[in-house]
């Protein structure tokens, strides 16, 4: 029974809950049991929220018994990336500097989960302050890839991706600044969506780079992401950058499975050289399937994408250096005192930040501080903003030719833990295909594209759509998912090694 529950999609669970075939407490308990069973190996969770999750589930069951009207996802449990603040659970951003800190307020997305009565299973691991592509930069130990425990689950949202891939949760929330939802989805054989910038409120997501950050859904199917997207999306008066749009019709688009006449643009610059052979093979296979299903595949060129990574590594650290200034030991979190010398406020702040931040965080703060300095601003931050405009123009031109764009999500499959830890540049290159969407604010999705021939590890396929056209992502991705699963005879994750006791 537990196996059946945890392997169900969110949509299936919602149906069974509504039909009273399952209770919310059963569903929640099954996932908590699964966490207890496998998370010692996977380390997807930094905190497990047992009591509250079961209490919310019990509320749902009671309400349903009373015949109350409930949200479709009421009683479907979810995991939350530990970058998003929650009342009643610690929020650490996977940093020592916030160890033990409890937020006195809920993020807007968390309020929405509570309103829908979705039990929150706990908080998932990430690279410290979402800075990284492997979850190895967590101060609380790396998360491991359920496909191969010696490999990285991607990052920064490796915890959320691994949690759904290891059947510890049917749904999770992630945040995506340069690919932190999509790249983990790619390497764990799961689904991840970065909505249009402003489509989901950022209020309560601890900011890394404000102009790039976006909260989005993590799941095992395109439909499940669409259902969650409809819960968390919409305008928030607490986030000035949030759009007025309300998001409906996403699940319907995901379920339609029709790409006939859809114009799909292959981005010339985002495949081929530098991409692993197995990744390239699966990408081409997907293109053939889409063509066969009636999609019109064209090639588009986005020449300025070659500057995206460089510009991203100026804008992101610049904003991060300012956003992370508040972590100083004065009002909350860790306070470390200097070991010798005078006890001044500057030295206490310095000692706190020296002790509380990890190397990657310090690296980015230093980069950003430098890039914003007088005399360098125009050359670095200023030029990077111009590149951003050029990338937006490339997207505009591409979307004049195609309804959606397609590329591999990441150039490679999951690498080994530790393999790139001492080579930041190699690590940064992982995000080359995902960064352009953040730079332009357009939405993107990654779905499983199969296993690479050479290592048998998951490959991700990315779709991109114009700003505010998230619905197109769901239509295209839903269709490809269906075509691929027909070919595989089931979901890709059914081929993943079995974790835990039920081997």
């Amino acid at each position: 029974m537990t196996q059946e529950i945890i392997r169900s999609t969110a949509a299936q669970l919602a149906e069974k809950l509504a039909a009273k075939e399952l209770s919310a407490v059963e569903v929640t308990q099954a996932h908590l049991d699964r966490i207890a069973e496998v998370d010692g190996e996977v380390n997807a969770f930094l905190h497990v929220n047992t009591q509250e999750a079961l209490a919310v589930a019990a509320e749902v069951d009671a309400a349903r018994a009373q015949g109350e009207e409930l949200h479709a996802l009421a009683g479907v449990p979810i995991a939350v990336k530990d970058l998003i603040v929650t009342v009643g659970q610690p929020t650490t951003a996977a940093s020592k500097i916030l160890e033990g800190w409890h937020s006195p307020y809920d993020a807007t997305v968390v309020k929405k989960l509570r309103a829908a009565k979705m039990p929150i299973l706990g908080k998932t691991n990430l690279d410290e302050f979402a800075m990284g592509s492997s979850t190895e930069h967590s101060a609380y130990g790396p998360t491991r890839n359920p496909w191969d425990l010696d490999r990285i689950p991607g990052g920064s949202g490796g915890g959320s991706a691994a949690a759904v891939a290891a059947f510890e949760a049917p749904l999770a929330l992630g945040t995506d600044t340069g690919g932190s939802i999509r790249q983990p989805a790619s390497v764990t054989g799961s689904v991840g969506v970065k909505p249009t910038y402003g489509g989901v409120s950022r209020y309560g997501a601890i900011a890394m780079a404000s102009s790039l950050d976006q909260i989005g859904p993590v799941s095992r199917t395109v439909l499940d992401s669409a259902l969650l997207h409809e819960v968390i999306g919409g305008h928030d008066p607490y986030d000035s950058t949030s759009l007025q749009e309300s998001w409906t019709g996403l699940a319907a688009a995901a379920a339609s499975g029709d790409v006939k006449g859809l114009r799909i643009g292959i981005i010339k610059e985002l495949h081929g050289e530098g991409y692993q052979t197995g990744v390239e093979n699966r990408f081409n296979e997907s293109l053939e399937l889409l063509k066969a299903a009636g999609a019109e595949v064209v090639e588009v060129s986005c020449p300025n994408f070659q500057y995206a990574l460089g510009a991203y590594y100026l804008i992101m650290p610049s904003e991060a250096s300012s956003n992370l200034a508040k972590f100083d030991g004065v009002r909350f979190g860790l306070r470390a005192l200097p070991e010798d010398g005078p006890m001044t406020i500057e030295r206490v702040m310095g000692a706190t930040r020296a002790a509380g931040f990890g190397d990657e965080v310090k690296r980015r703060i230093i980069l950003g501080t430098y890039a914003l300095s007088a005399g360098y601003y125009d050359a670095y931050y200023g030029s990077a903003q111009k590149v951003r405009t050029l990338i937006q123009r490339d997207f505009d031109a591409a979307f004049a030719q195609a309804d959606v764009l397609i590329s591999p999500t990441a150039p490679t499959t999951a690498f080994k833990l530790g393999e790139k830890l001492n080579d930041p540049l190699a690590m940064y290159l992982n995000d080359v295909a995902t960064i352009p969407a953040n730079m332009a604010g357009v939405p993107g999705i990654s779905i499983p594209g199969g296993l690479a021939d050479e290592d048998g590890l998951p490959v991700g396929i990315q779709f991109l759509a114009p700003a505010r056209q998230d619905v197109r992502l769901y239509r295209a991705a839903g269709a490809l998912e269906k075509l691929l699963e027909e070919k595989w005879g089931g979901p890709l994750l059914a081929q993943a090694p079995v974790l835990g006791g039920a081997k």
Binding site: S103, Y105, Y203, S211, P237, Y238, S240, T241, K326, Y377
Partner: protein, 502 residues
Amino acid sequence: MSTDEILDYDSAFEKYEPVLGFEVHVELNTKTKMFSSAPNEFGDDPNTNVNEVDLGLPGVLPVVNKAAVESSIKIGLALNCQIAETCRFARKNYFYPDTPKNFQTSQYDEPIAFDGYLDIELEDGEVFRVEIERAHMEEDAGKLTHMGGAAGRIQGADYSLVDYNRAGVPLVEIVTKPIVGAGKRAPELAKAYVAAVREIVKNLGVSDARMERGNVRCDANVSLRPIGQEKFGTRSETKNVNSLRAVEHAVRYEIQRHGAVLESGEKVVQETRHWHEDTRTTTSGRPKSDADDYRYFPEPDLVPVVASREWVEELRATLPEPPAEHRKRLKAAWGYSDLEFRDVVNAGVMDLIEETVAAGLKPSAARKWWMGEVVGRAKVAEVDPGELGITPDVIVQVNGLVEAGKINNKMASEVLDGVLAGEGTPEEVVAARGLAVVSDDGPLLEAIDAALAAQPDVAEKIRGGKVQAIGAIVGGVMKATRGQADAGRVRELILEKLGVEG
């Protein structure tokens, strides 16, 4: 703390001329803060008017207060500025514990208002134009109180208390262009400029404008350059000069100090200075270079503020009459002479007279009461006339008692003493102190007879038609009744007695 040498004030002007510049911070009186829904309220218990945004907790985002933007546009318009069609906020990055995010959300190269001016009228009526560079929006910092150590400074303090109630309070910073040509009148202009800004924001209703509460705070930049030299000298910036008198004194002191530095062949240090009201001197603060690096960049959590021309014109239409024009109109309406009006303004009773006139008094009567009875008392008490405790309402009541013949002018003064002593309303004071004039004609007629008999030649003159001579007889009667008589009634009775038309 070493004492700086200063030059005799007039000597400083033999070789040098001063250049001034002001940054005036105005706290807006909006209901909520610049970027959060926490109350903007002065004087509450520390750290009660704060929410997660003001404390800069992880995950929070700012939202611009529309009322604060409106107030800022109004200030810009009142300062004859252009209003930007679109402008952005920026982050000014620096670590200091009164700034919860360790950056201040401010405006940098895109102020909401720019290129304005203000005509400042000095005490003798000379008008001096001060050019306004910009007026921009920003948030206030929290308040630090340094405990232990010397002089309430962070250096050497044992610990510091921080109150974030003020953190996030909306501010408008008004920056002048360099002010040249004020010469020896520089200190006077400084005071008049800050007074004018305070008056404007108060008149607009956008600030409580109480300098003693820090609603209006002035940083005064002063430099000297040799007469005939184009290039400005090195400036000092005296921070937080928080009364009009202090602005005047600080500018005067800095001119004298700079003069002494330059005369000794030294260079003026570019730095901030602290003002000390007790000694009326400044002391060295921190070095301030033009290269202070605050790593400004556009605030990515906020979208640009768009001020449509329609909105700006709507706001312009709501602006009250500018104070200078208001004064011109009142002067004409009241019929005061130049001197009378200037005295009224300088004594700080113009608004009080305006209210009194609005309540029905003649302008001449209102001036008589405020200038004659209240200003002197306020000076003795060392408070503003408006804060003494005499309201326009009291003046109206006292004047009414005099006109009704219930008291005379001398008693009126005593009535005001009584009101100030907390003895109640004017009517109550009259009753309690037994101040009613003698209105029974019997005793008066006796006194009149006595006075006429004592001055038969005067009586004769009056009979002969020289009515103006009556003062001597009235005086005699008043003396005899120890001022308790109604002089008007006495006059009537004398004329009646002598059979003369008044």
